[in-house]
């Protein structure tokens, strides 16, 4: 299994505060690497650094063999990185299909094409349809995103990410706000995707995390507290005290 | 350039700038606090000038006319807000632009119906109708100095109102979070009404003060409005401080432009705006 994503002593300062403080981790194709930790641990900042939404203060990021620290988000996206958002960030007025189609269209070398109809680009349509299908939304294809349920919108977030045919997936709390049944479906989806991509997952839902992650990294106050397999993390006393213990209460 | 002429240009530039500030401050306040863009703002400048024309014919004292004029403009502002503007708070800016554009047409025609289309003059108040000599041959009209002084006094008054009074505090709070302020028991609707009327009264006052100098004519509101927009863009929406700085800059640039480069004098103001847009699109004191 190749390493698709690697960070080296990654650091992000906001003024005098280190939101991410020396984080080193690796993510391989075919396995899910979950990042967990209490609120304010720096997890979303980490994802923002990886997707290019923020530039690192120090440290390196290597994606698919390339140094990407400091590259703008659209360049990183073009390298094959797909990222979903914690707060749903979709095109509310468009159908589920159009949302994915726009995402897929971004893979064209340029969208400055004025004459041929967008719906005649078969590969783009197929990428969008495929993404919807993998996420179980094919029956909701023509429904406006605003009319979808919250869970379906979270699925659409994932579908949009998939539509760009990425090799690396960055998911920021995909299960946020979901009910039990929707969450179950999402977990299955994530498991399927994890088998075929390199996936970094930030999540609070412990059941989901322990069910699908091959590697866990626990972050507290911007640092890595512990890293290892689910069994190792469960047995780690420090982690239990700092995080898991508090979560069980 | 002769120092006396230079001084005259500076005084003219400052006077024009301060007058612009009076108009632009109302515009920027109304937008910054209530989120409303009001194209008819220039119409109130014109209304002020025509009011000055009419009132000074019946009221012998110029200053009394001004006070009456301000009161009238304020009252019209209150009515306008209650009747129409409060329906626009939650609407897209597009609709505010259109509706207030319609208001401009209405005000122009009303003006035409009431006062006709002729150009009128307003006499300078007798007490100030003299000039201070600067050199053997050049002198400066005292009335113009009085105008600048009044505008400056109002600028200080606004600062005091907004920074040091309870009303000002409510205004500042309301601009940040309307609903929160409302739930604190403050009648934000009333605050908005007062702010709107105040803004329009300022524009009218500017028109009244300017009338003896620039005369009273149809369409006088339009140019002032556009330049006021430029002031607001350069200074930053919602910033009274920005409006003052930008207005003075424009007043001086325009005045010196007319003297030094008359062919492009009209464009100087817009070139200034283009430069600010390139450097800092949100304006000098605007929030990013």
């Amino acid at each position: 299994m190749e390493t698709a994503l690697r960070t080296d002593a990654l650091k992000k300062m906001f003024g005098g505060l280190a939101a991410v403080n020396g984080v080193s981790l690796e993510c391989r194709v075919g396995s899910v690497h979950a990042v967990i930790g209490p609120n304010g641990a720096g997890k979303t900042t980490l994802i923002n650094l990886l997707s290019g939404d923020l530039a690192p203060s120090a440290g390196r990021i290597e994606i698919l063999g390339r140094q990407v620290s400091g590259l703008p988000p659209h360049r990183i996206a073009q390298l094959g990185v797909g990222r979903s958002y914690q707060r749903t960030n979709i095109f509310m007025g468009f159908s589920a299909f159009e949302n994915c189609r726009l995402a897929a269209q971004s893979r064209l070398p340029s969208s400055m094409r004025f004459i041929r109809s967008a719906s005649s680009y078969r590969e783009i349509n197929q990428a969008a349809e495929g993404a919807l299908e993998v996420c179980g939304l094919e029956t909701r294809r023509d429904v406006a995103a605003a009319a979808l349920s919250h869970g379906e919108r979270r699925q659409l977030e994932v579908a949009m990410t998939l539509a760009t045919s990425p090799k690396v997936l960055l998911f920021d709390e995909p299960l946020a706000g979901m009910g039990a049944e929707e969450a179950e479906r999402m977990v299955e989806l994530l498991r399927k995707l994890g088998a075929a991509h390199a996936m970094l997952l930030v999540e609070h839902d412990m059941d989901a995390v322990f069910a699908i992650a091959a590697t866990l990294t626990v972050m507290v106050d911007g640092r890595v507290l512990a890293s290892g397999t689910p069994a190792q993390i469960r047995a780690n006393a420090q982690v239990q005290e700092a995080y898991l213990g508090a979560a069980d209460d | 350039m002769d120092p006396a002429i230079f001084l005259i240009q500076v005084l003219n530039g400052v006077q024009y700038g301060l007058l612009l500030f009076l108009v632009a401050s109302g515009l920027t306040l109304i937008f910054g606090i209530m989120g409303i863009i009001n194209l008819a703002h220039g119409s109130f400048y014109m209304l002020g000038a025509y009011l000055a024309f009419s009132l000074t014919r019946f009221i012998p004292n110029f200053w009394l006319s001004i006070v009456v004029g301000i009161a009238l403009a304020f009252a019209v502002g209150i009515i306008l807000e209650w009747l129409v503007m409060r329906l626009l708070y939650h609407r897209d800016h597009l609709y505010q632009v259109l509706l207030t554009y319609g208001l401009i047409l209405i005000f122009e025609e009303l003006r035409s119906l009431v006062w006709g289309d002729d150009v009128h003059g307003v006499p300078v108040p007798a007490a100030l109708a003299f000039s201070i000599p600067l050199t053997d041959t050049l002198s400066y009209q005292v009335y113009r100095l009085a105008m600048s002084a009044i505008c400056l006094a109002i600028a200080f008054g606004m600062y005091w109102l907004i920074q040091r009074t309870r009303l000002g505090m409510m205004i500042r709070a309301g601009s940040v979070n309307r609903d929160m302020v409302q739930s604190l028991g403050i009648n934000i609707g009333l605050v908005y009404r007062l702010v709107f009327a105040l803004g329009l009264a300022l524009a009218a006052l500017a028109g009244m003060l300017a009338a003896p100098v620039s005369s009273v004519y149809p369409g006088m509101g339009n140019q002032v409005l556009i330049i006021s927009f430029v002031v607001v863009v350069i200074g930053g929406i919602g910033s009274v401080k920005g409006a003052l700085v930008a207005a003075l800059a424009i007043g001086l640039a325009d005045t010196f432009g007319k003297v030094l480069a008359p062919q492009i004098a009209g464009m100087v103001v817009y070139l200034l705006m283009a430069a600010v847009l390139l450097w800092r699109p949100q304006g000098i004191f605007g929030r990013a």
Binding site: D53, P73, H74, R75, Q78, R83, N89, I90, F91, M92, G93, F94, E98, L102, A103, Q105, S106, L108, S111, M112, R113, F114, I115, R116, S117, A118, S119, D142, V143, A144, M160 | L39, V84, L87, H93, L94, Y95, V97, L98, L99, Y101, G102, L103, I104, L105, I106, E108, L113, N222, I226, F229, V230, V233, G266, M267, Y270, L277, L278, P281, Q282
Partner: protein, 317 residues
């Protein structure tokens, strides 16, 4: 577009095509003017109704193109149709490029104000320029000569011929805009209005799309300006004024922005109202102003709302 609407549009097109055969000269010229305004309104709707860019300075490319035609028309000699259209539209495109690079750095209320300001800048420049005719403007004594491979099918001095050329161009612009909106470019532009941030995160350089859209809209406005100048035989600074821009915006909103036929409906309705009001009183602008205020308050989605057409800018297919 729903079936009934398609049929209606076709019917209108046929009626327009047949009109010169039965109408009087005054009304032929009136409808020609309406069609020119409809074309102009369609160009603004591209910005307002689809890209979400509310420009209050769209009279700028319109007026500059008109003046360009005037400059290309020596006293009594007809300029070439194709050459002068190309030149006028190029002038409009360049102006839109320059202005666009500046104004697109802003958004929302700032954008409205700076487009207004630049429009007025052009107005004052033309108004104060003696060589451009100053506040009176200048006449265009001869309409351009339309020649295709040595063949002269139309004599533009003939009102009916000019009418048909305008009709053809209006249909051409309508079709062009539909094609544009269905293209990959068009889909991005429409999405910018919906969620520009997400588009950037997907890798689209949205500024470029807004700029190209702004230039295209400017070019079409230039075409309208060329036609207006040729039609009126006169150019004056009022063609660049904010009243022109404001009225145009009113047409777009009145007809229903972001709908295919909205701009056309709006142009026709507003011009018709103007004609009616002008017949009633010298102070017709008062009535127009009242109408504008009333329609913003009671009919914000425009006539298209009344006719129950769904907004085309939100594709659900």
């Amino acid at each position: 577009m729903p079936r009934p609407a398609q049929i209606l549009l076709l019917a209108v097109l046929l009626a327009l095509a047949a009109f010169p055969l039965v109408g009087e000269k005054f009304y032929i010229q009136f409808v020609t003017k309406v069609m020119i305004m409809a074309l102009f309104a369609m160009s603004l709707d591209l910005l307002v109704g689809y890209a979400g860019l509310v420009s209050l300075g769209h009279a700028l490319p319109f007026g500059l193109a008109a003046y360009a035609l005037m400059l290309m028309t020596p006293e009594y000699q007809a300029p070439g149709f194709w050459l002068s259209i190309a030149a006028s539209m190029s002038v409009a495109a360049i102006a839109s490029l320059v202005v666009g690079l500046l104004v697109l750095r802003t958004s929302g209320i700032y954008f409205i104000m700076v487009t207004l300001a630049f429009g007025q800048m052009a107005y004052y420049y033309v108004h104060d320029s003696k060589h451009l005719g100053g506040s009176d403007g200048k006449y265009i004594y001869v309409r351009p000569a339309l020649e295709m491979f040595g063949w002269k099918p139309f004599d533009l001095e003939n009102p009916a011929h000019f009418y048909y050329v305008v009709l053809a161009l209006m249909v051409f612009v309508y079709t062009t805009i539909r094609i544009l909106l269905a293209s990959p470019f068009g889909r991005v532009v429409v999405a910018i209005r919906e969620n520009e941030h997400r588009l950037r995160m997907l890798g689209y350089a949205t500024f470029r799309y807004k700029l190209v859209c702004f230039i295209l809209a400017g070019m079409l406005a230039g075409l309208a300006g060329w036609l207006a100048a040729a039609h009126d035989g006169l150019v004056n600074p009022e063609m660049l004024s904010w009243h022109q821009s404001g009225q145009l915006l009113m047409m777009v909103i009145l007809g229903g922005m972001g709908t295919p036929a909205g701009p056309i409906l709006g142009a026709a309705a507003l011009k018709a109202l103007e004609l009616v009001f002008q017949g009633w009183t010298k102070h017709w602008q008062l009535l127009l102003g009242l109408f504008i205020v009333a329609s913003v308050l009671f009919m914000p989605r425009g006539l298209a709302q009344v006719l129950e057409w769904k907004r085309r800018s939100a594709p659900t297919r």
